[in-house]
Amino acid sequence: MNIKIIGLGGIGSTLSLFLSRYVNYEKFDTKNITLIDGKRFEERKAERQEFSSLGNKALIKMSELKQRFFNIVYEAIPVFVTEDNISRIIEEGDVVFVGVDNHKTRKLISDYCGKLNDIILISGGNELTDGNVQLYVREGGKNLTPSLTDYHPEIDSPQDKLPTELSCEELLHSEPQLYFTNLSVALFMCIMFYNVIVNKKYDKSEVYFDLLTMSSDSKIRRPKN
């Protein structure tokens, strides 16, 4: 199994740990996890992200996980995903986890996955106290679930920018986030992964949760194309 984790912030850094623990002890033929992020870990984000040192997130997280999970082969790609490099990052048959902070990257990845024959894409995002996780599965060149853009016009026509298009000032700017919300997204992404990989269930392709009402609801949606 080839797993790619794109974005190693509040969601991705936690997810990489949850996922590694599960994959390390399960009977998969191959156990490869690739960590992708062009950002550096900043001390001010320590309230939500756990890194042992300063530096590129993908490289630091890889070295941390390597020391804990010996059955997994890790790789780090310390770049942001762009149109130019996406074909070298995502390959046929991959299981791709997306925990980025902008819809433009989500659309880029979803559109690219739409060109592949077999792919599993799990994408999560959040606001301060709520969030959602989407599952996009393609098999034999057909959509088994909606793409990330099918039911989300805000992803289909993103108003934000790729990290590579942001100025230094814009890169430093970040809205307040809650660690528990990031954890919830990461957990729901793991649940989605378990259901699709182990139980082969993908009818409920989107789940929403809300910490304030302590509720969650999964949705059955049909692919539009």
Binding site: G12, D101, Q134, V185
Partner: protein
Amino acid sequence: MYTYDDLWEKTVKDLKVICKKYGIIGYSHKTKQEIVDLIHDFQSGDKEKETTPTANMNEIQGIEGNFSSRLTNPKNSIGNRHTTTVQVSCGANTNRFNVVGRTLTEISKALKEILNISDFSTPLVNGKNREWDYVVKEKDVIEFLKPAGVKGI
């Protein structure tokens, strides 16, 4: 709003037009008396709703309650009774509401605070995109699409 007498003065054809306008179902094989009752009951339900004191929604911190089905004709034999509550959701918030015959615009305004419906939400009925003036029917499943979370890093 029609009085009982107003309704009696109308033809069956006109009464059926009113039923259609209100989104009342199950009138096609009914007698004039039954159709008048249907419309009258429907309007009474509305009147009760209008006279219920409304709280300042900004002050509501949480809502707890039991939601029950409303029957279009409780006197019907079992099997011919129809519930008029439908499932309405937005994001993680979901419940059943008595909204048959209402447009999606009306429902979205009425349930905005309860379901935390965003100004950017778009409506789905039975999984398909619909216009805001769509009138909700029995057994419809309504979802106001909540925009995806942006952040994660």
